[in-house]
């Protein structure tokens, strides 16, 4: 009974426990404890993250001639630790006052807790998969689990977007099944090593087919460009902390499988050999990643619902991870992998702040909020740290992984990709400022005068996550060993790192010094501000320059709607929703065929069909055999 078996057993028993006790009041206390327990089990296996070898599970199934076994490598441990921390945070968030309000609002609270543990269980199962078939089963479990989480919210739009998600997810699963079948057909085994062996033997066109199928399957889950339409609406409509959990880690399972299958077993040589010299598969993937950083970010810029805005950013940041990993060099892949953890931390924190604002004000529409910084200062602090992380500015961890991605683009000499990534970053800065400005800054509305700070049960996970965002930013050396051991286990060049940051021949990064200098600068600025200048008088929000006009409460003196008019004048016409049009056209083609077949079935005289069928069959046989009577 290896440690991995203990982990599986503990997770499964937690699933049973929560499903039994989910409608009783004690689930609020039990859920966080259980997730903490799983986290401890995971930490016990931490040796794999510091260069130890993978844990093999003693379970193995042999069904219908397919052998299945499970293992836990450094890669799976890295993703598992992110999943567990995100699950613990959202469980603590869920089981406090938010849960009580959700229950009173008619939501099915027990099912939400169950959905969370089912998600965690299926993710652990996927992460622990040892061969292609267990990977596929884990993959299906994860898609169905997140469908279960999405379908819980009572709104009609949520259910419609959940169904749209499951259709996308099933398309991905079927593409994965075809790829697995192509690999199985060659020499009847489903081990991971088979991928590289089979890939080497394959002809050019089927190589392209295999890589494209694998990429389509994983891109759908990660919401990369052509398949990104489902993710934002689905995650925005998921109830409260569920959105935080899904936004943080659920779509990163696609990243796990991309690293596991495409990076580890097909590798850079494989990708480069596929396709013509100019447009090989690596440039294609890189450009999909680059476009994914830009287009969803600028769609997010347009949203006026906070959850939708954050969900679109989740899609955008996925592009960074792929951009980093596709460079296949030490710093690029380290940047991509680290971005998974960074993004999970601040995306979960930001989603929780938006849910906290909804908990107090009842709406997340950016045009109906404003000025809440005086009422909810701690939530503002968490959102501030979160947006600095999301925008990738120095003190926070987002900067470290973005710096790594930029550095690798610089070293590999990719100017256009570099500009695309920067375009994505700037778009993020613009839209996160719009988020924090419209929610917390500006004029406070009358109806929000007596809004109070959210209770501690919601503040603790938010503050915890923002501490993680800051600590991993200030001392990236804490998580870089994990990434180094992941790189080693996946066969990528390992990154040289120390506690402060990254050593690199042509210009490294030392976050302790950089953040130190920044705080030194803030200290000097504060000194100048408080000691050189005199006392300043706090004034009411109506004591404001308005060209001599007397401000009163009947006219709202606040600017939030259509926040970037200049930018929108220029690029407004580019939002033609061409992907939406593509999706609609596919659906209309399908409905055309279905009407065509339906009319066949309404034939007046079915014998006609019989005659046509017989004649065609005989013709086919005649041609097929090619010989006369």
């Amino acid at each position: 009974m290896t440690l991995l078996d203990h982990l599986f057993i503990v997770v499964f028993s937690c699933l049973i426990a929560i499903s039994v006790v989910r409608n009783l009041p004690i689930v609020d206390k039990l859920a966080p404890v259980l997730y903490g327990l799983i986290l401890i089990m995971l930490v016990r296996m931490a040796s794999v993250a510091y260069g130890g070898d993978a844990y093999l599970s003693s379970f193995s199934l042999d069904l219908l001639g397919f052998k299945m076994h499970w293992q836990f490598t450094a890669l799976s441990w890295y993703f598992a630790i992110i999943t567990l921390v995100a699950a613990l945070a959202s469980a603590v968030f869920m089981s406090g006052d938010w849960g009580r309000q959700y229950r009173e609002g008619g939501g099915n609270y027990g099912m939400l807790q169950l959905a969370l543990i089912v998600n965690v269980f299926s993710m652990i199962l996927l992460l622990g998969s040892g061969d292609l078939l267990s990977l596929f089963i884990g993959w299906e479990f994860v898609s169905w689990a997140s469908f279960l989480m999405m379908v819980l919210s009572p709104s009609k739009l949520a259910k419609k977007s959940a169904v749209k998600y499951i259709v996308y997810a099933m398309t991905g699963a079927m593409a994965l099944m075809v790829a697995i079948v192509m690999i199985y057909a060659v020499n009847d085994s489903l081990e991971f090593e088979q991928i590289s062996i089979v890939f080497a033997q394959m002809s050019g066109s089927s190589q392209v087919a295999l890589v494209l199928l694998l990429f389509v399957a994983f891109a759908i889950k990660m919401g990369l460009l052509p398949f990104h339409l489902w993710q934002a609406v689905a995650y925005a409509e998921t109830p409260g902390p569920g959105a935080a959990f899904l936004g943080a880690i659920s779509s990163r399972m696609g990243m796990f499988t991309i690293v596991l299958v495409i990076v580890q077993f097909i590798g850079l040589g494989g990708l480069k050999s596929v396709g013509t010299s100019f447009a090989n598969m690596q440039t294609l993937l890189a450009w999909v990643a680059a476009l994914t950083t830009i287009i969803p970010t600028y769609i997010a810029l347009q949203q006026h619902d906070a959850k939708r805005l954050l969900a679109w950013h989740g899609v955008g940041q996925g592009g960074y991870m792929l951009l980093g990993i596709i460079m296949f060099d030490s710093i690029g892949s380290a940047g991509g992998l680290m971005h998974v953890l960074n993004h999970a931390s601040y995306q979960a924190a930001l989603f929780m702040t938006v849910v906290a604002v909804m908990y107090r004000t009842g709406t997340s529409d950016l045009n109906k909020l404003g000025g809440l910084v005086t009422q909810m200062p701690l939530t503002f602090l968490v959102m501030l740290i979160g947006i600095i992380g999301l925008a990738g500015l120095p003190p926070m961890n987002g900067f470290v992984s973005k710096w790594l991605v930029y550095r690798s683009l610089l070293v590999n000499g990719q100017p256009l990709l570099f500009v695309a990534a920067v375009l994505g970053t700037l778009g993020t800065i613009l839209s996160v400022y719009k988020l924090i400005h419209n929610t917390f800054l500006g004029q406070l509305r009358l109806e929000h005068q007596n809004v109070r700070e959210v209770p501690w049960s919601m503040l603790v996970p938010m503050l915890g996550l923002s501490v993680i965002v800051f600590i991993t930013g200030f001392m990236p050396g804490l998580i870089l060993p994990w990434i180094a051991s992941v790189q080693e286990s996946v066969g990528l060049p390992v990154i040289a790192h120390h506690l402060g940051g990254i050593e690199y021949a042509k210009g490294g990064l030392d976050m302790i010094w950089v953040s130190g200098i920044l705080f030194y600068g803030f200290g000097v600025g504060a000194l100048i501000f408080y000691f050189l200048g005199g006392k300043s008088k706090r004034v009411h929000q109506y004591d404001n320059y308005a060209g001599g006009h007397f401000l009163t409460s009947d006219v709202r003196y606040h600017y939030s709607n259509n926040f970037y008019p200049g930018l929108m004048h220029l690029i407004g016409t580019w939002y033609r929703g061409s992907f939406q049009w593509l999706e609609n056209s596919i659906v209309s083609v399908m409905s055309f065929f279905s009407v065509f077949f339906e009319n066949i079935y309404r034939a007046k005289q079915p014998v006609m069909l019989l005659l046509i069928g017989v004649v065609l069959a005989l013709l086919a046989l005649y041609r097929n055999l090619g010989v006369g009577a």
């Binding site: 009407v595 339906e598 309404r602 007046k604 006609m608």
Partner: protein, 149 residues
């Protein structure tokens, strides 16, 4: 084409043309009864083909053999088979006739097309659904709740 003008060639041609006529009748005719008759022709043609499969040129029917086993005999087995096939055909056609009477009584018309569209509308109604793509009148728009239910 040489064996076409032999005896069995002509007989085969007759049998096959009979079944083709029956098939053509099935395709073209609208009236139920004419459909049934063309079905009868079609089955008769097929039975003829089955009988002919046992035909051997200038063989005589086995019944006429009085002991001398030297002569060439036609194969009796398909004839036995045809008997059952004809009996089955008759049974089916009788059942079809009774069904046609009840359908005529209920739908009041013998035209297959009106029966089909009426049948389709009845199925859709008892399933509570608008009939699929009925091209007569477009589905009535529900202006007022329950107004045109």
């Amino acid at each position: 084409m040489n064996h076409f003008f032999t005896v069995e060639g002509i007989l085969y041609f007759g049998a096959i043309s009979l079944s083709i006529i029956g098939l053509f009748g099935l395709l073209v005719s609208k009236n139920l009864f004419r459909l049934l008759l063309s079905l009868v022709l079609f089955e008769a043609g097929a039975n003829l083909v089955l009988v002919l499969s046992g035909f051997i040129r200038n063989g005589i029917a086995p019944i006429f053999l009085d002991g001398n086993s030297g002569a060439v005999m036609n194969d009796p087995v398909p004839q036995a088979l045809v008997l059952t096939a004809i009996v089955i055909g008759v049974g089916v056609q009788a059942l079809a006739l009774s069904l046609i009477f009840r359908v005529k009584k209920h739908y009041g018309s013998m035209d297959m097309r009106t029966i089909r569209s009426k049948l389709e509308r009845e199925i859709a109604e008892n399933a509570g659904v608008t009939p699929p793509g009925s091209n007569e009148a477009p589905a009535p728009v529900k202006l007022i709740e329950g107004e045109n239910s």
